[in-house]
Symmetry: C5
Subunit: 354 residues, 5 copies
């Protein structure tokens, strides 16, 4: 929790539009790569400065600029100047606490997204903000980290000679969205496994750490849903968008992405309900067990306490206790013991306790 | 649970539009059957390859192609090529983790549906994805399994000389939808019986497996609702649709199907509420019983512990204990025993415990 | 429960539009009555067959046909043929598991309604489906049972010379709707009385049947709400309707009915909330009592168990126990008993337990 | 509860539009008062019959007719005849179980409102229906009771020479609405005080009447919300209204009233949430206390029961018990007592119970 | 609670539009400051009376009038007269119990806002109402308190030569909104820290004050949400507004503010869910502990009570008890003790209690 619900309070006093990176620094260096392609052509370069982008950017090819690491605000600033991006948009790129959203400007689309990635060791999710700028024939992706997340998209571009290479930057945007969102299905798979094992534990054993684990999982699901609900609004806005930057043929693909987001959110809501239900079940299983414990105690105590009292009576040292002298006193008292026990056990059996 | 909440994570790296079957394989072989009919004519054939469909497809008859088993992606691919179906639609047909939905394209309607079938042994439901492609005078149904689900529709077509034979593929689509959705009423019947028996058990006996069974049933209801909520959206979209493929006279029939879906979803919501309520009732009945157990323990312990103490006093071996020598000591102590017990019982009676 | 949540699963295999009565049979015979009236004229007849209706149906009068009992599907079929009613509508009339709804066709309105009637013995509600067909100057009401439900409407028609006799079939439809819906107020009255008595019981006594009764009542309220929510949609649709069959002057009356439905549904929702709250209160009152029981047990056990131990010490038979020979041993041990008791009672008083 | 959730079941058989007072009779006599005013002029009269209203009603002044007590239906009937009011509206005025609403007719507005008044002794609310008829230059207010509720409005009219006297009946309607709705703020104040004192009690003391009081308060809040939710719809409808009877300059004032209603409803919703939360807190505080009680019991019982057993061993009368003859037997047994106690206390300390 | 849920009941009898300060008085004196600026020019003055404002107000500069402290209603009244503000707006400025809202009048915008400020000592929030009047080239801000809240805005105006100085009063309004709303992020940070420490406590220790603290925090979150929900509506209305006072270029900045409000409200809703979940977890951890306590008690009592009874038997003083004379009686009884204990411990182990 400590990590993912933090807020950028440090900037409250600053003016709007001032370019500073806000958020955790995952990469100390800002790396740039330029991919430029069309149906016949594909090349990929690492560049050192945004100034070099122009060298690879021409009318015949689609240019994809990948920026990894956001600590160097000057890189973002230069891109903004070169391509006429509003300063508030640049500020949103640098601030990694954005809500996912779509902003349509005259010359470009701005997309902010959260990428959810499962952690290896146990069920927990780490979040990365990915933002995209889609212009006429150039697309920028801004990421916090350097990892192989977008490699499948790169590979497809490199190898494929189909739609991906011939279509415009809107199709590339779709391919990136699709890759990032389908990542969530893996998380749902792992969540599912975790739920199944939790369910098994609840009915097998009274594990006092169970509520804490259910709580943690529920918090994770709530947090995931928090990041994905605005993604749904964003893809819906993309579908409704009348921007000239989104070609008619791409809409059916975006509808596919939107369907996936809906499916993921529905699953998360069901998982949240299941987790709430599991906690209730856990509570009721504790109550059932407590009931059983108390029955055992009650039966033992209720049977032996009266017997002990009777034994106590004949342990008294009064001088005049006629029973003590009877020949059949001792066997008689055993009769009392046995019949009292039998009576009590019959009473508890009739109550359904034994 | 393990079965129905799984997600297709295996495809995240693949490109969109690649045709691979995603989901559990229920049938190793993909079977094709062609039904072609008009008001005067009815014939049904098994075919081995999609190429043979054309032989039975002509302007005078309606052609219904039934595909059972989705493991052979090439069959779907060939159909897509022959009839001009978008590759994303083909991909959705092969991926059996779709949300139910309606997609209207220029030349065809694409309907994805979940068919819910009750299992024989206990209350649980198995899910099958059924998708339909409705073209001008041909209709395709894609199913995961081979079972007699659509037999009633086939029989009606064969025997009837009424509306079913004279109307277009939209009416056939309606007949299939109707058959699949009315299947749910049987499930609701069985759910109802299960609920009645659960209710009876709660008040008769403290059954520790009850919460688990209520939980399982609730999960099943939640899952059913999850599959049916998008079906409602789909039938509503069919009603609103302005596609030329849906004839005016069919709309009143589709309204009927939509009404059934609404009725089923309402029932599921009520069942979910009832199940939640049952768990609460179960918890309160456990608490009531615990209360009763504790009262019995408290009465026994509170009456006999003081008596045992008194008996203990006169069991002490002090040399100077004048009571022990009194002639009436022993009867007197019995008086103390009896009056203490009476006093305590009077106290508990006033408290309303006995 | 067993009765009112049943679904018509028996028809799943049948074709749409086949006329069979679906539901419980309340009347073995189907009775027909024809009322024909205008401002100056009123007559009422029993008829044996739908063919006789024409005899009483003319342009100058409004004709009201009352059908009671739905077991004879042929009666409905004949009416459908004579007056040009769609076969799906006829099917809906015969299937008494419909959702309340309004269907506007070119020549007629079709209204399905649930009539809720309180049972005499205890709080429970029985349901009857009432459907109406409103044509130009004829109205049909279809009922499952023969009972005096619609008598007030008949009496008003017979006696009155006001609006009811001069207005068209839409006003008669309103009068019937009004009578059926106002029936619910009586049910709400009885529900209210039941709630007040439940509330009184909760705080007076630990009644183990209370949760079951609250549960039953809640289920009844949920079921009532389930039948009335679509009635609200139906009256709203009537208000919005642009059908020529509903005259402008009737709309203000329909608004009145709609208001009543809203009022009833709001009350039901509040009652449901109250019932949920009552169960919580019951649980908390059980917990309070358990707490009290445990305090009594704890005080008794904690005071007497140490005393018994002390008495036990001096009941030991060691040869060398100097205290036993002291002259003041026995009085001293009483001092120990009394001071231990006082100390423990002081401790419990400080804890706020006594 | 018995008072405010009653429904008018007595009228179910009657025809619509029949004028009978439905509801509790608060005033046996129906009083009429006429206020007539313009910018320069103000007079107030008691009248005995609706016929006298015409004497004070002319084009130059605004006439305000105040009717208190609804038992005499003939008064309402006469007013209806004189001013052309629809019989259903008159019926609604006489039936004090109306939902608050606005009805716009051609010549008049009809407003029904619930006035909530705090009772003096404890937190509870009594309800009065106030309805208003706003015509071109005359306004009628119908009330169930005679009390000083509308005196502030009368005083302002009498004294002021501002807007209130120069504006039309719509402004007077606003002033009455405003006075009635602002009444609720006093109730919210008292509700607030009650909540603060409840909160204090929960954490100070185990008061078994607390759940009942929380429940009562919650029911009161639910009931208040029930009456105010349609008031919100009503004021919103007034704002949207295009009736010529509401002058443009009054709209800003009505917006103010609407804001107040929104504010009150929001507060009620928060109070309902707080009350639900309080009940949970109460339950958890009971559980905490029970836990503490049980710990004390467990410690006492677990320490002394083994000691008593050991003492019991050496209280046995076997002839051959070598320990009894040992010189150090008695001191040794004390050693056993002390070390057992120390061991158990150490065990409980490690468990965190002491 | 006592502070922030109070309502202005004292004004119920007063007429609308009467100017009196309603709410807590934070500042006994009303201070006025005038800032006037354009791209080249910046000056700031303290003034004593609203009459002096005109001296600094001219067509070439933007004038910002800061009013701190609302106790002196005459100041507000004079401003209203000078600039033609509606009396209801003035009344809303003086009443610090307003809902946040936007009112668009012909010549000015009226914005009411709640500023939430964290208190230093523990997690609690204090509320201040800030209202703004935006006219053509003058803006008024009305505040309850004198504190450095708006200093960052003043500093930016003074130093900057960018957008802030060249844009109109709508941009200044944005800058103030932004500063006030970003304040909330600091509160969310502190809320987050408090939640993390609460979570840690729940699982480490049974702290009886925990439910009270969770409840307090939840109430604070509910209250914050109550103030921020209408702020969201207000910023949304600003975005939709077609007022000429809001320039096209400012809209993108307002969208930024709106995004922040959405983000804050989402976080609050998640925090509310977390707090509800924490209480449930706390309850379940108490139940788990109770279960453990009861097991210890049951094991101790169930083992030693039977043993004590057996010892009690041989402590009886019957003359004829043959076992007492047996040479192996005492060792035999030890055998009975040990085997009984072993049997019981085996039984509890099989039950999974030890």
């Amino acid at each position: 929790m400590s990590n993912s619900l933090k807020y950028p309070s440090g900037k409250a006093g600053l003016g709007p539009g001032s370019l500073v990176h806000v958020g955790d620094v995952h990469e100390p260096i800002t790396r740039l790569a330029v991919v430029s392609y069309n149906q016949n052509h594909y090349e990929q370069h690492s560049v050192l400065s945004p100034d070099e982008i122009t060298a690879y950017h021409n009318k015949e090819t689609i240019t994809w600029v990948i920026i990894e690491g956001l600590s160097d605000a000057s890189v973002i600033e230069k891109i903004g100047e070169q391509f006429g991006i509003h300063s508030l948009v640049l500020e949103d790129i640098l601030n990694t606490h954005q809500r996912p959203k779509l902003e349509e400007n005259e010359n470009y689309l701005f997309v902010v997204l959260k990428c959810l990635m499962p952690n290896q060791d146990k069920f927990s999710v780490s979040y990365e903000q990915v933002s995209m700028l889609v212009l006429d024939n150039i697309i920028f992706t801004f990421r916090e980290k350097t990892d192989p997340l977008l490699n499948p998209v790169l590979k497809r571009l490199e190898k494929s000679h189909g739609r991906a290479r011939s279509a415009g930057p809107d199709f590339l945007m779709y391919a990136i969205l699709d890759t990032i969102i389908d990542q969530n299905f893996e998380i749902l798979d792992r969540l599912d496994e975790t739920l199944v094992s939790l369910e098994a534990e609840i009915f097998s054993d009274s594990n006092p750490t169970l509520p804490a684990r259910i709580h943690d999982l529920k918090m994770e699901v709530i947090r995931m849903r928090r990041y994905l609900a605005p993604v749904r609004d964003m893809t819906a806005a993309l579908l409704r968008s009348e921007s000239a930057l989104i070609h008619e043929h791409t809409v059916i693909y975006l509808r596919d992405v939107h369907d996936h987001v809906l499916r993921i959110i529905e699953s998360l809501e069901i998982h949240r309900d299941i987790l709430s239900s599991l906690l209730e079940i856990y509570l009721s299983s504790i109550s059932s067990r407590l009931n059983e414990v108390m029955k055992v105690l009650t039966i033992f105590a209720s049977v032996f306490i009266p017997l002990t009292f009777i034994a106590g009576i004949y342990g008294m040292n009064f001088e005049h206790m006629p029973e003590l002298k009877w020949a059949w006193g001792y066997p008689a008292i055993w009769g009392v013991f046995i019949s009292t026990t039998a009576g009590l056990l019959y009473y508890f059996r009739r109550k359904g306790w034994i």
